[in-house]
Amino acid sequence: MSEAPEQRTIRCLVGKVGLDGHDRGAHVITRAFRDAGFEVIYSGLHKAPDEIVQATVQEDVDVLGISILSGAHSTLVPKIVAGLEEYGALEDTMILVGGIIPEEDRDELLELGVAKIFGPGASMDEIVDFVRENAPDRR
């Protein structure tokens, strides 16, 4: 509809990878994103890195939020990053990590290309604002 203004909606994928079954945080963030006017795809629990990559590539999301509380972030995140790179989706997808990430592991993730890490104390407004301000401009 050329008459309607361009409808640029921020799309997000909230992904749970690995074996941890704690999805309360992922649910809360999914709802917060929805209420902020984003389109949110929730992956469901226990996804393999491949599945997250597949979803990120196909859904062409602006933001991939990975929620990990199991401590396996140092194995899982690199796999996802590598997969995104393979499909040429790494550059214009902003990766956020949420959950329990020890201080000493943070730099490693940030160097991999994670834009920001949100720990347990992060407020919803903070996260939503960060996404609004930093979602990749793709035009």
Binding site: S2, R34, A36, E39, A48, D50, V57
Partner: protein
Amino acid sequence: MKSLVDDLLDGDHRALARTISLIEDRTPGYRDLVSQLHEHTGHADVIGITGSPGAGKSTLVDKMAEAYRDRGLTVGVIAIDPSSPFTGGAVLGDRIRMASNTGDMDVFFRSMSARGTLGGLSTATTDAVKALDAFGKDKIIIETVGAGQNEVDIVRTADTVTVLVPPASGDDVQMLKAGILEIADLFVVNKADLDGANRTVQELREMIEMRRDELAVATGHHGAVEKTGDDAAAELEAGEADDADDPSWTPPIVETVAKRGDGLEELLSVLEDHREYLVESGQLEAKARERYAAEIRTLLREDAADLLSEEIDARGGIEAFVDQVVDRETDPYEVVDDLLAPIEECVREQR
């Protein structure tokens, strides 16, 4: 844009994903993109799946995609979920059910939000289907918003419309009569292992029979009531002869348990039958022609509306005209004549 189309045609998944985003966002230039895709389309079977929320659409789509993949076919899925009318936000949850095809890139699954449109289909869906078609998908499945009874838009995009009915939905079946019955090419009673499935199948069958009779009356095939005996008999014979030449389609009912994959083979073969019917009866071509006609009209209306609002702005904006109408200096009809006259003249000169 040129290279994006080339990449898409070369089978680059990212290019396909990006193309659909551009279409969805109505990004400037998306029209060129879609028109470049057009010549590469027309090969995929487009199957629409609709039905009330919780009927099991996503699960069925997942299993269908898996079955098609087993047969060596590639599959594209567009799943539409509702969006909030207040914030525009949406949770697109259909992907969770796509458990059988994870990691298989040849099932291209795309979630779309309805972005405020009624009728169960996003405005961009038709164009997104073209992108999947041009990409070379053999089967394209569209899963609509499970909103209820007014998802008739799907007819304009899908070749075959499948309506899912959960069992023991006695009253729902009654409601189906309103709109969905007319659009269904086949019915699937999913969760057929639950109590009440038989009854639902029975009720559906009665409705289909009733509708067939109504149609027969409407088209005059059984219009014996007003005729004298001999005429009626002749008419009836002629009618039946016509029926033999002109293949007709009565929506079949397939029972499935999507979770376990029961009834899936039958569903796929019924879909194949319908496809054959569409081809043999010439319906497929007729539908495509109708679809393109509707598309041309829609685009024309949109562009004409754009042109007109541009013209209104150039002449001082709508408010100025309203002021004149309020002051009784002119009236709406005159305003319209005034605005359109130069355009009409121009069009006639150049015709």
